[in-house]
C-alpha cells in the first residue's frame, strides 16, 4: 500500500489513486508519423528502479499527479503536477 503525496491534497493512501502508467511518454504532434503514434500508444519501457508515473487522484482532487517511484522498492522520491520537471535521484538511471 503506497502513500502518495498529492501536491494538492497532501499525503494520501494509494486506494484514492488510479495508476495510469508511464509519464515519460509524450504525445506526438498531430502531424507526426503513424510510427511515432504507434510508439506513443504501445511501446513502454519496464524499468527496474526509478520510474516516472501517472497516478490519477480519482478519489480526491481528480488531478493527474506525476510520481517518481522506485519499481523495486516502491520508494517515492518526488511528486508533482503534470508539467513539473521531476529529476530522478542522482546516481540512478
Amino acid at each position: 500500500m503506497h502513500r502518495i503525496n498529492c501536491p494538492w491534497c497532501g499525503l494520501r493512501d494509494e486506494a484514492e489513486f488510479q495508476y495510469q502508467g508511464d509519464a515519460t511518454v509524450v504525445r506526438p504532434e498531430p502531424d507526426a508519423s503513424e510510427e511515432e503514434f504507434f510508439r506513443y500508444a504501445y511501446i513502454r519501457d519496464n524499468p527496474k528502479g526509478w520510474h516516472t508515473e501517472w497516478w490519477h487522484h480519482t478519489g480526491g482532487c481528480r488531478q493527474w499527479v506525476k510520481v517518481v517511484r522506485n519499481t523495486l522498492t516502491h520508494e517515492i522520491h518526488a511528486t508533482g503536477g503534470p508539467h513539473d520537471d521531476l529529476p530522478l535521484p542522482e546516481g540512478d538511471k
Binding site: M1, Q18, E34, A41, H56, T58, T73, P82
Partner: protein, 990 residues
C-alpha cells in the same frame, strides 16, 4: 485431574476454573488458559489428526502457531471452521472440535492404506500418474484427489459472524510480545512516540521461563509488570491475539486480530475477527524463532514433538506430554528443557546429543543423574498410534540402543523467524554459527531484535529489544531517553550441530503437514528439480497452511546435501504474505451481501418500484429492466413494451447516463480533439451524436452532446463508461492540452433524466409542461435543445431519439426527478403512455441498428460500426492516426450487420458465432459473432446485430448459421442491413 496434568506449575492456567469441551464428540475437561492441545494432552489424548497424504496418525508437534499436525475443525453448523491449530486455539466452555482428514474415525482411518501404497505416492506422484487420458481429469481424477487430500470442511451455510476492517497509525510498531518486543515497546514508548505492540498469542512473554530472572525478579512477574506499565501509557496500544501477517510497501503492515475466536460466539456487536491496516513510521520485528524437528524414521509418531513444545506444555500449562521422555538434540536448548522436566519430576530416559563433547549445560544435567549419549542421534521411533520407544544410532549410522518412552523431545536448533523481514523483498542470510537464516540488512524502516535476529539468549534479547526501540523512536523523530535495558544473566550456549537427515530407510518427515519426506527432496533433486523454488513446488515442501515454519530450513539443508553444495548457495524460497492463514471472511470484512458495493438508485427509483419494475444492475446502478403486468412473463412484457412505444408512447428512466458539463472559450476545440466528428460549427441550442476513439484508434465511447451556449456544452456518455470518459478528459485537459480554456465536471448525479418516446410524445410533454416551453417543430426541431423554467427550477429538453421514434429526453435537477416523472405520467394517461425498461429500450435500438455496450467491445473501429464517414479529415482528434493503420481499415474486418432468424431454433442468442457451414464450425471458418438479439415486434421475428467479416456487402441476403455449442444450436440466419426498421428515419417526426 488426569495423570498428565502436573501437580504444580502452569503459569497460564487457572486451576480453579475448569472448562468443559468435546473432541470428536467425547467430553473432556481442561482449565481456563489452556489451549485445545494442552487440554487434550492433559487428558492423555496424543492422537489429534491424520496426515494429509498418507493419513498417518499425528499428535501435536509444537505448542504454538507453527503447528503442522494438530489442525482441527472447530465449532459446528454455520460457524464450522477447518484447519484451526489446536496449539493456539484457546479453550472455552463448550468448545467443540473434530479431527480432520480421517474416515470413519481418527483411530481407524481406512485411507491409512495409503501408507502401503506409499512407494508410489512420492514427490510428483500426481503429475506423473494423473496425466492420461485428459478426459479423465475433471470427472474422475480431480474427485479422487480432492476426496483423499482434503484438509477439513468449511461451513456450507453463510457465516453468521461479522468481520471488521480497521486502520491505525503509529510511530513505532513492535511485532512480538516476547522479552525483546516488550523491551522495545518500553524504550520506544518512553521516548514519547505512538507505539503499537502486537502479539500473536493471548499471553505475552514469548519463550521466557518462570525460572528466568529479569531485573532481579522472576521473568513472568517482570512480563506482567512491564505490560501494566505499558498499559498505563497513553501513547501505547497493546494488541494481544493479533498476528501481523504481511509487510507491504511504505511500512504498511496487515494484521489479524482474533477478537472472538476464544469465545463460543462473539459477544453482542463484536466481530469475530478484525483485519488491521497498520501504518508505521518505524518497525521493530521481535517475532521470535521456530524450533526445527529432527529428521529420522517415523519422526511423526504421536508423542514425538519439539523440545520447546515439551517445555512450554510443562511450564505454561502444567502438563507433561509424557511420563518418560527421550530428548534428542543438536544444541544446548535441550538442557533447559531437561532441567524443567527434572524439576517437575518427569523422568528422562536418555538425552542423545549429536555433538561430540559435553557442553557446560550438559554437564549440569549429567550431574543430576541423567544419562547423556554423546555423538548419538535418533534412528527411528517405534510404536503404533503413539511412540513406545526410540532407537538411537551413531552419527555414521550404527544402531546403538533402544529406549522405552512415551514422548520424544526433538531439539533440532532454532530458525529465526525472518518471515516478515524477508517479505520486504530481500532474502535472509545464512549464519553458519547459528545454523539458521538471519534477517537481511533492512531496506525499509525496520530492524529485528531478539530471537528473530538470531539472539537466543535472554540477556541479549532484552538488550537488543531496548536498543531497537530507542533506535526506532529516534528514527521516527522522537528524542530517545536512553535509560538502561532490562537485565538478565547472560548464558553462554555451546555450539550447534547441523544434522539434517539422520540415517534410515523409512519415512523421515521434513514437512509434516504436507507429508514431505527427506526422500522426496532427494528424489526431486535427482529428477532435476535442483532449484529450491522448483524443489518446493515439486515436493510441496513448505506449501501447506503452516508454510513450512518448522520444516523449510531442514528441507534446504537436505537439498544442499543432495546437491553437494553449501546452504547459502541453495538459498531460501521467496517469503510472501500471509505469515499464517487468514480467513477469506476477514479479507472480505463488511464487503459482503448488501454491503458488497454501494447501490446507486436514480431519483425516480420509487416511481419505477410503484409501477412494478423489475430492476437490473447496471454497474452499481439499479435500472428498471421491465414492468411485468400480473401473470405476464419476462419475454411477453418486453415484447409488449417495445411494441407499445411505437404505437402510443413510453417513458424510460435514463438518469444513469454519464453527464458532464463543459465550459470555456475552447470547449468546442476541446470536443473537436476528443470526438471524431466536428463540434465548432454546432450552434447553441443543438445536439449532435459524437463518437470517441481511444489513442489506439478503437472506439471508446459514444453519446449525445449539446451546445447550450457558445462556451457551454453538455456531454452524455454511456452508463458503463461515465467514469472512464471523465478520466480521459481530465488527462486531455491537464496533461495534453493545459493551454486550452476548458473546465468540466461530472453532473451525472446532479441531473436526472427521462426519455419520452413514441408518436404521442409531443402531446404528453405539451400537457405536462404547458406554456413553460414551445414544443413546435420550429422551436424544438430534431436534435434541438432548450432550457426552460419549470416548477421553480431549471429543466433541459433534448429532442433526441435512441428508439427511432419521435422522442425527447428531459433533465431536471436530481431532487425534482420524482416530481417530473409524476407530471409526465399523469399527462400521459390519456395518450397511452407506458413505462418501459432497459430490455425494451434495447429492442427499440436493435430494430434501428443503433450500437450500445454490446457492440462497443474495445475491438471495433468507427468503420466497423458503419460510422467511418463520421471521421473528420479536417481536424486532428485522439485516435485519428492509428485508426488509419493497415489492419484497422482492412476490407475483411468484422463489420456491423443485421441478422434475421430464418429457421432451426426458437430464438437467436448473443455470443453465437457465424459460419457458412454449420457442420464445419471451427476457428478458421469463423466469420463473426452475434452481439445483441431481440424478439422484434416490428419485424415479426428474432433479429440480432453482430459483426461479420466483410459486413453486409459481402453477405447481403445470404444464409449463414449462428452456431452456439453451449445450447447445441445452429439456426439459419439471413444477413441484412442493421437498420431493420424505418431506415429513412421518417418516424423521428412523429
Amino acid at each position: 485431574m488426569s495423570a498428565h496434568r502436573l501437580k504444580n506449575g502452569g503459569i497460564l492456567i487457572n486451576r480453579s476454573k475448569p472448562v468443559n469441551f468435546t473432541f470428536d464428540g467425547k467430553s473432556y475437561q481442561g482449565f481456563e488458559g489452556d489451549t485445545l492441545a494442552s487440554a487434550l494432552l492433559a487428558n492423555g489424548v496424543t492422537l489429534m489428526g491424520r496426515s494429509f497424504k498418507y493419513h498417518r496418525p499425528r499428535g501435536c508437534l509444537s505448542a504454538g502457531s507453527e503447528e503442522p499436525n494438530a489442525i482441527v475443525e472447530m465449532r459446528s453448523g454455520a460457524r464450522r471452521e477447518p484447519n484451526t491449530r489446536a496449539t493456539i486455539a484457546e479453550l472455552y466452555e463448550g468448545l467443540e472440535a473434530k479431527s480432520q482428514n480421517r474416515f470413519p474415525s481418527l483411530a481407524f482411518d481406512v485411507q491409512s492404506v495409503n501408507q502401503l501404497l506409499s512407494p508410489f505416492l512420492t514427490a510428483g506422484f500426481y503429475y506423473k500418474t494423473f496425466m492420461w487420458p485428459a478426459s479423465f481429469w475433471e470427472p474422475i481424477y480431480e474427485k479422487i484427489i480432492r476426496r483423499s487430500a482434503g484438509l477439513g470442511r468449511a461451513a456450507v451455510e453463510p457465516d453468521p459472524d461479522t468481520y471488521e476492517h480497521s486502520h491505525d497509525h503509529c510511530d513505532v510498531l513492535v511485532v512480538g510480545g516476547g522479552p525483546a518486543g516488550l523491551a522495545a515497546a518500553l524504550s520506544a514508548a518512553k521516548s514519547g512516540g505512538r507505539v503499537i505492540l502486537a502479539e500473536e498469542q493471548m499471553a505475552f512473554g514469548g519463550m521466557v521461563s518462570p525460572t528466568d530472572m529479569i531485573d532481579g525478579k522472576p521473568a513472568d512477574a517482570w512480563v506482567v509488570e512491564t505490560l501494566t506499565k505499558l498499559e498505563g501509557m497513553k501513547n501505547v496500544t497493546i494488541m494481544p491475539r493479533t498476528t501481523v501477517f504481511g509487510y507491504y510497501d511504505h511500512n504498511v503492515m496487515a494484521a489479524l486480530e482474533r477478537v472472538s475466536d476464544h469465545v463460543k460466539e462473539p459477544e453482542d456487536g463484536m466481530p469475530r475477527q478484525r483485519l488491521w491496516t497498520l501504518r508505521a513510521k518505524e518497525v521493530v520485528l521481535a517475532c521470535g524463532s521456530h524450533e526445527r524437528a529432527m529428521t529420522f524414521d517415523n519422526n511423526d509418531k504421536p508423542g514425538v514433538m519439539l523440545n520447546n513444545a515439551v517445555r512450554t506444555f510443562v511450564e505454561k500449562f502444567g502438563v507433561s506430554p509424557g511420563k518418560k521422555i527421550v530428548i534428542v538434540t543438536t544444541n544446548d536448548d535441550a538442557y533447559r528443557t531437561a532441567e524443567i522436566l527434572l524439576d517437575a519430576g518427569v523422568k528422562i530416559a536418555v538425552i542423545a546429543d549429536a555433538r561430540a563433547e559435553l557442553s557446560d549445560a550438559a554437564s549440569r544435567i549429567k550431574a543430576r543423574g541423567v544419562e547423556i549419549d554423546l555423538g548419538t542421534i535418533p534412528r527411528q521411533a517405534n510404536g503404533g498410534k503413539r511412540v513406545k520407544s526410540l532407537t538411537l544410532q551413531t552419527l555414521d549410522g550404527n544402531v546403538t540402543r533402544t529406549f522405552g518412552c512415551d514422548c520424544v523431545a526433538m531439539a533440532g536448533g532454532y530458525s529465526p523467524d525472518v518471515h516478515l523481514a524477508s517479505q520486504t523483498g530481500v532474502a535472509p542470510v545464512w549464519d553458519d554459527a547459528l545454523k539458521g537464516f538471519v534477517p537481511p540488512a533492512p531496506i525499509r524502516a525496520e530492524r529485528s531484535a531478539g530471537a528473530s535476529k538470531g539472539s537466543f539468549d535472554l540477556a541479549a534479547c532484552l538488550e537488543e529489544g531496548h536498543a531497537a526501540g530507542l533506535e526506532a523512536a529516534g528514527a521516527a523523530g522522537f528524542e530517545a531517553k536512553a535509560g538502561t535495558a532490562p537485565s538478565a544473566e547472560a548464558i553462554a550456549n555451546g555450539p550447534i550441530a547441523a544434522i539434517w537427515r539422520c540415517a534410515g530407510n523409512g519415512k523421515a518427515f521434513v514437512d509434516f503437514q504436507n507429508d514431505v519426506t527427506a526422500k522426496d527432496i532427494t528424489l526431486a533433486e535427482q529428477e532435476g528439480f535442483v532449484s529450491v523454488e522448483h524443489a518446493k513446488r515439486y515436493t510441496t515442501l513448505g506449501m501447506a497452511t503452516d508454510q513450512g515454519k518448522t520444516s523449510n530450513v531442514t528441507g534446504i539443508g537436505i537439498l544442499a546435501e543432495a546437491r553437494g553444495e553449501p546452504i547459502p548457495d541453495v538459498g531460501t524460497t521467496r517469503f510472501r504474505p500471509p505469515y499464517s492463514p487468514v480467513a477469506i471472511g476477514a479479507f472480505a470484512g463488511h464487503e459482503r451481501g448488501y454491503e458488497f458495493q454501494p447501490v446507486r438508485r436514480t431519483a425516480m427509483h420509487a416511481c419505477g418500484e410503484k409501477l412494478g419494475a423489475v430492476f437490473v444492475e447496471a454497474g452499481q446502478w439499479l435500472r428498471p429492466q421491465y414492468y411485468p403486468k400480473p401473470n405476464e412473463g419476462v419475454m411477453e412484457a418486453i415484447y409488449r413494451e417495445s411494441k407499445q412505444v411505437r404505437e402510443t408512447a413510453g417513458i424510460c428512466d435514463v438518469s444513469s447516463l454519464g453527464k458532464i458539463e463543459i465550459f470555456g472559450d475552447d470547449a468546442g476545440e476541446f470536443l473537436n480533439r476528443l470526438y471524431i466528428n466536428g463540434w465548432k460549427l454546432l450552434k447553441p441550442g443543438k445536439a449532435r451524436y459524437g463518437l470517441m476513439l481511444r489513442e489506439d484508434g478503437f472506439v471508446f465511447d459514444d453519446g449525445t452532446t449539446s451546445r447550450l451556449a457558445d462556451d457551454h456544452f453538455f456531454m452524455t456518455t454511456t452508463t458503463a463508461n461515465a467514469a472512464r470518459v471523465l478520466s480521459h478528459m481530465e488527462h486531455a485537459s491537464q496533461v495534453l492540452w493545459p493551454d486550452l480554456d476548458v473546465q468540466f465536471c461530472s453532473a451525472t448525479e446532479q441531473w436526472c433524466g427521462v426519455a419520452v418516446a413514441g408518436p404521442n410524445a409531443r402531446k404528453i410533454l405539451e400537457k405536462a409542461f404547458g406554456k413553460a416551453l414551445d414544443m413546435s417543430e420550429e422551436a424544438l426541431p430534431f436534435m434541438g435543445v432548450q432550457t426552460f423554467e419549470w416548477n421553480g427550477t431549471t429543466a433541459r429538453i433534448f429532442r433526441i431519439s435512441f428508439s427511432g421514434e419521435l422522442a425527447y429526453e428531459v433533465n431536471v435537477p436530481w431532487t425534482y426527478g420524482e416530481e417530473m416523472w409524476n407530471a409526465l405520467w399523469d399527462a400521459g394517461q390519456d395518450h397511452g403512455l407506458i413505462p418501459y425498461g432497459t430490455e425494451a429500450l434495447s429492442v427499440l435500438r436493435i430494430e434501428k441498428g443503433h450500437v450500445a455496450g454490446n457492440e462497443l467491445d474495445g475491438r471495433t473501429t468507427a468503420a466497423d460500426m458503419g460510422l467511418g464517414r463520421m471521421m473528420s479529415s479536417k481536424k486532428p482528434f485522439i485516435g485519428q492516426k492509428l485508426a488509419g493503420r493497415e489492419g484497422m481499415i482492412a476490407d475483411d474486418r468484422e463489420q456491423l450487420v443485421g441478422l434475421k432468424l430464418i429457421e432451426g431454433a426458437e430464438r437467436l442468442r448473443g455470443g453465437a458465432h457465424l459460419f457458412e457451414d454449420a457442420d464445419d464450425a471451427n476457428r478458421e471458418n469463423d466469420l463473426g459473432w452475434i452481439t445483441s438479439v431481440c424478439d422484434s415486434p416490428q419485424l415479426g421475428c428474432w433479429i440480432g446485430l453482430g459483426y461479420l467479416k466483410g459486413g453486409v456487402e459481402a453477405y447481403a441476403g445470404k444464409t449463414l448459421y449462428a452456431v452456439n455449442p453451449l445450447f447445441g444450436e445452429a439456426p439459419a440466419v439471413e444477413v441484412v442491413s442493421p437498420h431493420f426498421f424505418d431506415p429513412k428515419g421518417e418516424r423521428l417526426n412523429g
